[in-house]
Subunit: 458 residues, 3 copies
C-alpha cells in the first residue's frame, strides 16, 4: 500500500520533523519568556491580600471551558460530516488547535501582555489563545480535505501571527470593540481561508467529488459538533467581556440570536430545498450564524429584540449562501470552500461587524449609564463620540479584510511548496492518505488506496 | 422522488411559513415587552453599587449551561436511537427547543416577571425557558416519528402556554415547591404527550414497525444523550433553587439518586431480559429515572439515604414499566409511546411528586433551622403547617395532571388538522419524509421513498 | 440463542443479585453513617453567618462537572473503539462508575471525613468519589472485553477499598502531595488492572482476535471520549487543589502539558507508523498522557516551560509504548492490556510521580512565597525540608505500586471464581454475551452467537 520509496520516506519524516521543530522552538521561547501572572503565581498571589474568591479563575474558567469544548469538540466534529474524512477532521483539528494555542500564547503575549521582558499567562491568555485557534480552524474549514497536515501546520504558524497583529491593530491601536470576534475571529478566519483556498485552486477536484458528501452517520457526528457550538456560543462571546453585566448581557444576547437563526435556517432550508425537505448542511451550519453575527455587538445594549432580528437575518443570509452562493464561488471565483465558511463565518462576520458599527454609533450615556466605561471606554472618557467610535469599528472591518486577504495569499503561496505532501486531486477528502484506516471499512468503501493513485501527482 | 405537485408545493411552504410567522410575531412581542433586567442592563447594573462578583450570572450560568446541554444534546441524541430517524430526532429537538425558549420567555415573563409593562430577562429567565423546552421535548418523545415538524411546532406553541399556566398556578398561587420539576416538567410533559399521542392513535402503525427499532450505532448515539442527561441532572435540579446550601444539597441528592437508579436499572434489566442479557432501552432511559424522582424533593432535607432509596425505586419502576407496561399502554389504552416517556417521566414524575408530599410533610424547624425560610417560606412564616404544605404539594400534582390531560387533548385535536403534513402510517420513523438523506444510505436501507407511498394518505 | 438452561438461569440471577445486594448494603450504610456537611445541610449552613457566595459549591462544582463528564463520557466512549464492544464499554463504565462513587463515598468518608460517628458529604466528597471511579475505569481498560459485569463489580468493590487505603496512606499519613492523582489514580489504577489482567491471562485469546480491532465509526466514537478527556483534564487536576492561585495554576499547567503531548504524539505516531501514516490508537490515547504526567506537579510551581517539557516527554513515551512495548507486555509478561493503560496511565503516571519528586525537591520559599503553605504545608511549617518532601513523594510512589500489585493479585484471584460468568475465549470483545444486540447488525457482522460457542467454556 506504499507509494514510491522516496516519497514514503519523505512523508514519514515531514510531519514529525515539523511537529518536533515547532514544539522545541515553542518550548524554548516559553522557557525564556513565559511566566505565571499574578493570579497563577504562588508568591505573587499570596503577596497581595486577596480573597481567593477574587481570583479571575472563578469568573472566567467556566466560560473558558465552554470555549475549549467548542474549539476541540465543536469544530472537530462539525467538520466530520464528510464520509471518509472523519479521522482527519477531528484529528487535524486536535493537532492544529494544540499547536495554535501554544504559538498564540507567545504571539498574543508579546503584543498584549509583555512586561519586564516576560509574557504573563493565566485564564485570560488561555481564552485568547483558544480564540485564535478558533480562527485557524475556520480557515481549515475552507481547505478541508485538500491539504495535508504539514501544510496545515504551516498555515497555522502563519495565521496565528497575522491574527495577533490584526487583533492588536484593532483592539489596541484603533480602540475597536470586538469581544466575540465577528471581525477578529470570523471575518479574519474566513477570508484568510478563502483567499488561501483560491490560491490552492484545484481545477481537477471533481476526481474526488464522490467523497465530498456525507453519509447518514457522518451527518450525525457532525451534529455533535453543531450542537456543542450552538449551546456554548453564549459563553464564547461573553468569555472576554467585562465582568458583571457585561458577561451576563453578552450571553443573553447570543442566546436569543442563536435561537432566531435556528428558526430562520429551518424556514429557509425547507423553502429552498427540493420538495420542501430540509438540508442537513444548512442545519449543521447556518443555524450557528446567529452566534457569529452578534460577535461584536452582543456586549453592547443590542436589546433582546435586536438580538433576535440579527440572528434571524444571519440564518437567512447563511442558508441562502449555502444554496445559491457556494456554487458561484467555485464556478466564477474559483474558490473551493469545503465547509462553506463563507456562509457561516464570512458573510455573518461582515454583517456582525456592520451591526457593531450601527450599535456603537447609537450608544448614548443614557442607555449605558456608568456602564459606558466598560463597553466604550473612549466614548465614556469623551475622547471619541459614539459616531466616531462607529467609524473606527468600520475601519476595523476594512483592516481585517486587508490582513486576511494579504495573509491568505501569502499562506497560499507558502502551502504550494512542493515538498509539503498535498493530497493528489483523486485522493482529496480521504483519510487513508494520512491515517491507518481499519481494514473492514476499506473493503466496504472503494477498496484500499492503490499505489498508482498515490503517485499520480507526487 | 416528489409527491403530487400540490402536496409538494404545500409542504414546501407550510414549515417555512409557520417558522417565519412565529419568529416575526415573537420578535415583535420582544420589541414591545422584553427588556434587560437589572443584572444585564448596563445602566441599571452600574447604577447600584454592586460588586461584579454579586451578579447572578456567576451563581447560575454554569448550571444554566449544563441544563442547556441536557436540552439540546441530551434530549436530541437520546431520541436518536431509531435507525432511520436520527436527523429528525436531533434536528427537530433543535428546532422545537429554539422556538420554545423564545416563546416561553414571553409566556413565563408575562406570568412571573412582568413589571411596569415589561418582561425583565436574565440568566433566571434563560434557565426557566430551557426548563419549558425540556417539557416540550418530553412530549415530543411520546409522539416521536409519528408527527411532522409543522405539527410539532403547533404542539410546542400550545404546550408552552399551558406549561406556563400550570407552573404559575403551582408555584405562585399554591405555593408548591418543585425546583427540579417532577410535576411541572416531567409529569406535565409526559402526560401532555401521552394524551396527545392517544388522540393521534394510529391503528395501522405496524406498517412502520420495521423502522421502530435501533441499530448498533444508533444505540451508541443515543447513549451520548443518556450520559449527558445523567451527568448534568444534578445541575438541572439545582439550577433554580436558592443559593448556597440549597443548590449544593440539591446537586448532591440528585447525584446519589441517579447512581442508585443506575444500579437498579442494570439489575432489573438483566433480571427481566431474555437469558439475563441487558436491554439498551432500559439503560438509555430507566437509569435516568433517579433524576426525575427527586425533582421536587432534592432541594429538601431528603437525606443521602433518602436520595438513594428514591433513585433505587425509580429505576426499578421505570425498567419494569418498559418491560411490562409499555405494551399494555398500546394494546389496552391505545397510547403509542415511542420513547416510553411514561416510564421515564410519567411514573417517576408522579412518584417524585408524592415523595415531595412526604418530605414536605416531615419538614421541621429542627431539621431546617433558619434554612426553612429558603425551602418552605410559607411554613417558616407560620402561614402553613408542614402537613398543610404537603397537602398543597399533593393538590399541585392533581392540578398538573388536569392541565396535562386537557392540554394534551386539545393538542391532539389541533394536530389532527389535515393540512399539517403528518407522515403516512407506512412512513413513520423515517427521516426521508422531511430531510434530504444522503444517497448511499438509502440504497443500503430499503431504497428511496417511492412517490406512491408518499401520496397514500395525503 | 440461549446457552444451557442452568447457565442461563445462573446468569439471569448473578448480575441482578450482585447489583441489588450492593445497592441495599450501601443504602443501609448511608442511612447509618452519611450526613450532609455544614455546606449542604440547611440548618448547619444557616446557623453560621455565611454569605451564600462563600459556599464551596461555587468554587468546586464547575470543576466537578467537568470531572464527572470525563468519568462517564470520556472513559466510556474512549473504550468504545472496539467494533463489537461499544455497548459494554459505555454501559459497564456507567454501571461501574455509578457503583464506585457510592462505595467510595463510604470508604473515603470513613478514612477522611468521619467525625462524631458520621461521614459528612458535599461537593468535595463528590469530586473524590469520582476520582476513585476514574481509577476503577483505568483498571477496567486493562481487562476490557475479557471480563463480565459481575466480575467487574467485584473488581470495583475491592479496588475502591484499596484505592481509599492507598490514598489515605499517601495523603494523610505520609503528607504526600498528589492533587491530580499521578500516583493515587493513574499509577494505582493502571498497575492494579495490569496485575489483575496478568492473573486472568488467556493463552487462547487469539480466538477473539478478529474482534479486537476498531472499525471506522467506532474510532470516531472513541474520539468523543478522547476529546472530552483532553479538554476537561485541566479541571480534573485542579478540582481538589487549594482555592485561588492553586486551582488557577494547576489548570494552566495541565493545559500546556496536554498541548505538548498532543504534538509529540502526532510526531511520533507518524514517525513510527507504516508509510508515515498516523495511528488512531496513538492519537486517542497518547495525546492524553500530558494530563497524567502533571497530575502530581501541576499544582506546584512547575513553570509553563516545565509543563510543556513534561507533556512532550509523556506523549513520546506513551506513543512508543503503544508501538513497541504493548506487544512485549503480552508476549513476554503475559499481560493482555486491551486499552494500553500501561502506556497512557502506567508509565506516564510513574513519570508524573517522579516529576513530582523533582519539583517538590526544588521548592523554595522564594518561589512560593506565602503560597508555600498551600502547596507544601509541612515544608512551610518547617516540619520538613523540600528535599525531605521529595523523599516522601518517592516513597509514596513505592507504596502505590505495592498496593496496586498486591491488590491486583487479590483481585485476579477473586475474579477467577468460576461462577462469575466470564466470557469464553472465543467470545471476548463481544457485546452479545451480555446485551440484547439489534438484529440487523448481527447479520452484517458474523451472525448470531451460536449456542455451542456460548457453552464451550461454561
Amino acid at each position: 500500500m506504499a507509494g514510491s520509496p522516496r516519497r514514503a520516506a519523505g512523508r514519514r519524516l515531514l510531519l514529525p520533523l515539523l511537529c518536533l521543530l515547532v514544539q522545541v522552538a515553542t518550548a524554548i521561547l516559553f522557557a525564556v519568556f513565559v511566566r505565571y501572572n499574578h493570579e497563577t503565581d504562588a508568591a505573587l498571589w499570596h503577596w497581595g491580600n486577596h480573597s481567593n474568591a477574587d481570583n479571575e479563575f472563578y469568573f472566567r474558567y467556566p466560560s473558558f471551558q465552554d470555549v475549549h469544548t467548542m474549539v476541540f469538540v465543536g469544530f472537530g466534529f462539525l467538520m466530520a460530516f464528510l464520509q471518509r474524512y472523519g479521522f482527519s477532521s477531528v484529528g487535524f483539528t486536535f493537532l492544529l488547535a494544540a499547536l495554535a494555542l501554544q504559538w498564540s500564547t507567545l504571539v498574543q503575549g508579546f503584543l498584549h501582555s509583555f512586561h519586564d521582558g516576560h509574557i504573563h499567562v493565566g485564564v485570560d491568555s488561555m481564552i485568547n489563545a483558544d480564540f485564535c485557534a478558533g480562527a485557524v480552524l475556520i480557515s481549515f474549514g475552507a481547505v478541508l480535505g485538500k491539504t495535508g497536515p504539514a501544510q496545515l501546520l504551516l498555515m497555522a504558524l502563519l495565521e496565528v501571527v497575522l491574527f495577533g497583529l490584526n487583533e492588536f491593530v484593532l483592539l489596541s491601536l484603533l480602540g475597536v470593540r470586538d469581544a466575540g470576534g465577528s471581525m477578529t475571529i470570523h471575518t479574519f478566519g474566513a477570508y484568510f481561508g478563502l483567499v488561501l483556498s483560491r490560491v490552492l485552486y484545484r481545477p481537477q477536484l471533481e476526481k474526488s467529488k464522490h467523497r465530498q458528501s456525507s453519509i447518514y452517520h457522518s451527518d450525525l457526528f457532525a451534529m455533535i459538533g453543531t450542537i456543542f457550538l450552538w449551546i456554548f456560543w453564549p459563553s464564547f462571546n461573553s468569555a472576554p467581556t467585562t465582568l458583571g453585566d457585561g458577561q451576563h448581557r453578552t450571553a443573553l444576547n447570543t442566546y436569543y440570536s442563536l435561537s432566531a437563526s435556528t428558526l430562520s435556517t429551518f424556514a429557509l432550508s425547507a423553502l429552498v430545498g427540493g420538495d420542501g425537505r430540509l438540508d442537513m448542511v444548512h442545519i449543521q451550519n447556518a443555524a450557528l450564524a446567529g452566534g457569529v453575527v452578534v460577535g461584536t455587538s452582543s456586549e453592547m445594549m443590542l436589546t433582546p429584540f435586536g438580538a433576535l432580528a440579527a440572528g434571524f437575518l444571519a440564518g437567512t443570509v447563511s442558508t441562502l449562501g449555502y444554496k445559491f452562493f457556494t456554487p458561484v464561488l467555485e464556478s466564477k471565483f474559483k474558490i473551493q470552500d469545503t465547509c462553506g465558511v463563507h456562509n457561516l463565518h464570512g458573510m455573518p462576520g461582515v454583517l456582525g461587524a456592520l451591526l457593531g458599527v450601527l450599535v456603537a454609533g447609537l450608544a448614548t450615556h443614557e442607555a449605558y449609564g456608568d456602564g459606558l466605561q466598560s463597553v466604550f471606554p473612549l466614548v465614556a472618557e469623551v475622547q471619541r463620540s459614539a459616531r466616531s467610535q462607529a467609524m473606527y469599528q468600520l475601519f476595523g472591518l476594512f483592516v481585517t479584510l486587508m490582513f486576511a486577504s494579504v495573509g491568505g495569499s501569502l499562506g497560499g503561496l507558502l502551502l504550494r511548496l512542493p515538498f509539503l505532501d498535498a493530497p493528489p486531486d483523486s485522493q482529496c477528502y480521504e483519510d487513508q492518505m494520512y491515517w491507518e484506516v481499519p481494514q473492514e471499512e476499506e473493503d466496504e468503501a472503494q477498496g484500499p488506496l492503490r499505489t498508482e493513485e498515490l503517485d499520480t501527482q507526487a
